[in-house]
């Protein structure tokens, strides 16, 4: 996930201080990992170095949190380009789940792989229920619902894969150890 592009996006409406950016980030992207202040300032520093933002109204005495940042034309172009670029649709199989089963079959026995699949399916089911509860909670905003829906769809897909793999893992084991 590209923190720098999110910050560029938040600056598109006008200059903001680092602490305002952190707050806006956490509000607009609910249930994302909250941004650390240090990360905000480090990212802003990089963006400034690359000419994508400039600091305005700097009060030297007051420290970095008193500095407001503004998007440059170059920054706006970078933001537009990023928004329009299609993300590569999963170019590699990089799932930790898949890797773990593959390694389990290499170094351990079939039972270890099956136990892992079962434990993982239980953990996924638990998390699926937890996030689904967010959707029926009266206090949830639409942003919350849209955010958890993303994870729900992925957990659901993982669960299907876990169950199918559970049904195939014995054959896969025979393929690995003929």
């Amino acid at each position: 996930m590209s923190t720098s592009h999110v910050l560029l996006g938040l600056l598109a409406a006008g200059s903001q201080h680092g602490y305002e950016l952190k707050r806006a980030h956490d509000t607009r992207l609910p249930r994302a990992k909250p941004l650390a202040f240090g990360q905000v300032y480090a990212t802003l520093g990089r963006l400034q170095r690359d000419g994508l933002v400039v600091s305005a109204g700097q009060e030297r005495e007051a420290g970095p949190d008193r500095t407001a940042y503004t998007l440059t034309d170059q920054g706006r172009a970078a933001l537009t380009g990023w928004l329009a670029a299609v993300e590569p649709p999963m170019p590699y199989v990089t799932s930790a789940l898949f890797t773990k089963v593959a390694v389990a079959l290499l170094v351990a026995d079939l039972n270890a792989a099956r136990s892992y699949l079962v434990a993982q399916a239980r953990a996924h089911t638990e998390r699926l229920r937890e996030l689904t509860a967010v959707k029926t909670a009266p206090a949830s905003s639409l942003a919350d619902v849209v955010a958890v829906d993303y994870v729900i769809a992925h957990l659901d897909a993982d669960l299907r894969w876990l169950r199918t793999t559970l049904a195939r893992v014995a054959d896969w084991h025979r393929e690995v150890h003929p």
Partner: protein, 239 residues
């Protein structure tokens, strides 16, 4: 004893066994998903619990009373009062408007026309389809029909709602909206729900999931052929 229980329920259709000894305990206010592959006996279990079908063997209890031995008239009264049912296809009466459909169970229970009409509109509003009160089912989308059917199932204030694949005929978004509202309202009213579904994503709306397999409760909950041998490792006990 409160809540709803099945004890060793067996049910066949002629030579076909559908349930081969199912026990289940549902607490009041609980939302329980009954899941499992097609043909595993989910609908049969729901029909037995709701008093629509009678088990061949075993018992069904509601609030401490054995109900499966009640005569059909008494079970049918139960389904008009404390129990409600919702099926995959809402089964609205096509000749009636949404408001008339929702008012119907109240009229059958002896509520006056005015009161029934008012309650019907209130429930359509809670399901987010107040604007469809005077529309007939034929002019609605599947999701809208199912929201009206949900209003009709809840208008009598049932203590238990039996829902059999209530989102099965809907697209993802339509299904999510029906279920989100249904579960939200059930929690608000303390309604118990027995929710039959084969989709993990829908089952996740429940507090708990009971998986059936070939007419019995699957203790692994994952459709495993053989129970797993425990593996030694962190947190596991070596033996």
């Amino acid at each position: 004893m409160s809540g709803l229980q099945a004890h060793g329920v067996v049910r066949s259709y002629g030579p076909t066994p559908a349930l081969r000894g199912v026990s289940l305990d549902v607490a009041e206010g609980e939302i329980v998903a009954v899941t499992g592959p097609s043909g595993c006996g989910k609908s049969t279990l729901l029909h037995c619990l709701a008093g629509i079908l009678r088990p061949d063997v075993g018992e069904v209890h509601w609030r401490g009373e054995r109900i499966d031995t009640w005569p059909e008239a008494a079970r049918s009264r139960l389904r008009r009062t404390e129990f409600g049912v919702l099926f995959q296809f809402g089964q609205l009466v096509p000749e009636l408007t949404a408001a008339e459909n929702v008012a119907l169970p109240l009229l059958l229970a002896g509520t006056g026309r005015r009161g029934a009409g008012r309650a019907a509109r209130e429930w359509l509003d809670r399901l987010g389809v107040a604007h469809l009160a005077d529309v007939r089912p034929g002019a609605m989308s599947g999701g809208q029909q199912q929201r009206c059917a949900t209003a009709r199932a809840l208008v009598t204030g049932p203590r238990v709602l039996f829902a059999d694949e209530p989102t099965g005929a809907l697209d993802t978004l339509g299904g999510e909206e029906v279920l989100t509202r249904l579960v939200h309202l059930a929690r608000e009213q303390g309604t118990t729900i027995v929710l039959v579904t084969h989709e993990p994503r829908i089952a996740a709306y429940a507090d708990r999931e009971v998986m059936l397999r070939d007419g019995v409760v699957d203790p692994t909950g994952l459709g495993l052929d053989e129970p797993l041998v425990p593996v030694a490792g962190p947190g596991a006990v070596a033996r």
